[in-house]
Point group: C2
Chain length 127, copies 2
DNA sequence: GTGTGCAGTATACTATTGTATAGCACATAT
DNA sequence: ATATGTGCTATACAATAGTATACTGCACAC
């Protein structure tokens, strides 16, 4: 447990991809497993989208995703940070100000997220 | 509760997309929400991949995804069927034989799944 | 008649996700 | 002095996801 900026507590968690005991029947399954490891859950893609829409502050992000709670937002931000998808910078002390941003690496996710958006858009029409 | 083919019990569940009370800050979030609604969890994409690799039988699919349990496989197959991603056909009675297959509609998911695979593949290299 | 495979269900459990609500320490605005 | 905003944490709880294991009824092979 590390305390920083008077507020934030980071519980360190292993970032390494855990390999299942038995092997998947093809490498594609492993790759999908890896991608899901980074993007799992309801919120991570929405947070990435929010950042990409220009939101940088904790409360700002929270407001842009109406149903998320502080608990989940904190959790997801930490995981995204550990996986190098977003960065967190303290820009001012007392009053503490934090700036979240997408990393360079996060840009590699964009084609995937575009496809998520496209499919959802089309699915609405189909239903 | 409906009993069919002596084995299968289907608990009917609403398929409609539930709209959150508050609105997302942009339509893209809604689309991602919709896509995740269909593909959520650890297993659905792996099942789709397994079917695409030519597996059609329940046990076959289970074997191709080593860590999945029957409980989860049953659950996920039902959800995918409800969302028209896969179909389930009884091909023979006593001994009962079932054939699972991807629907035409499931093909629209392929660009998305390809991106999932690609990103995971690249992510391995980066880590 | 024993073991195997088929297509699952049932029960019980743990872990993770998600909800709800309250609070802190500081600061600025009214 | 009170309310509001910032960036979170803490606690308690409910719901869902996932694990583990056993079992069923039928058919076929040995």
């Amino acid at each position: 447990m590390v305390k920083e900026a008077k507020t934030r507590i980071v519980k360190v968690k292993k970032t390494a991809l855990k390999e299942p005991a038995a092997k998947y029947s093809c490498p594609e399954m492993k790759y999908i497993h890896d991608t899901l490891y980074v993007l799992n859950g309801k919120w991570k893609m929405l947070i990435i989208l929010s950042l990409r829409n220009g939101n940088t502050r904790y409360r700002e992000i929270a407001r842009s995703i109406p149903l998320i709670t502080f608990r989940m937002l904190s959790k997801e931000l930490k995981e995204l940070e550990q996986n190098k998808i977003i960065s967190r910078k303290v820009t001012h002390d007392t009053p503490v100000m934090i700036e979240y941003a997408l990393t360079e690496y996060s840009k590699t996710l964009w084609p995937l997220i575009r496809e998520m958006i496209n499919w959802g858009k089309n699915h609405r029409k189909v239903i």
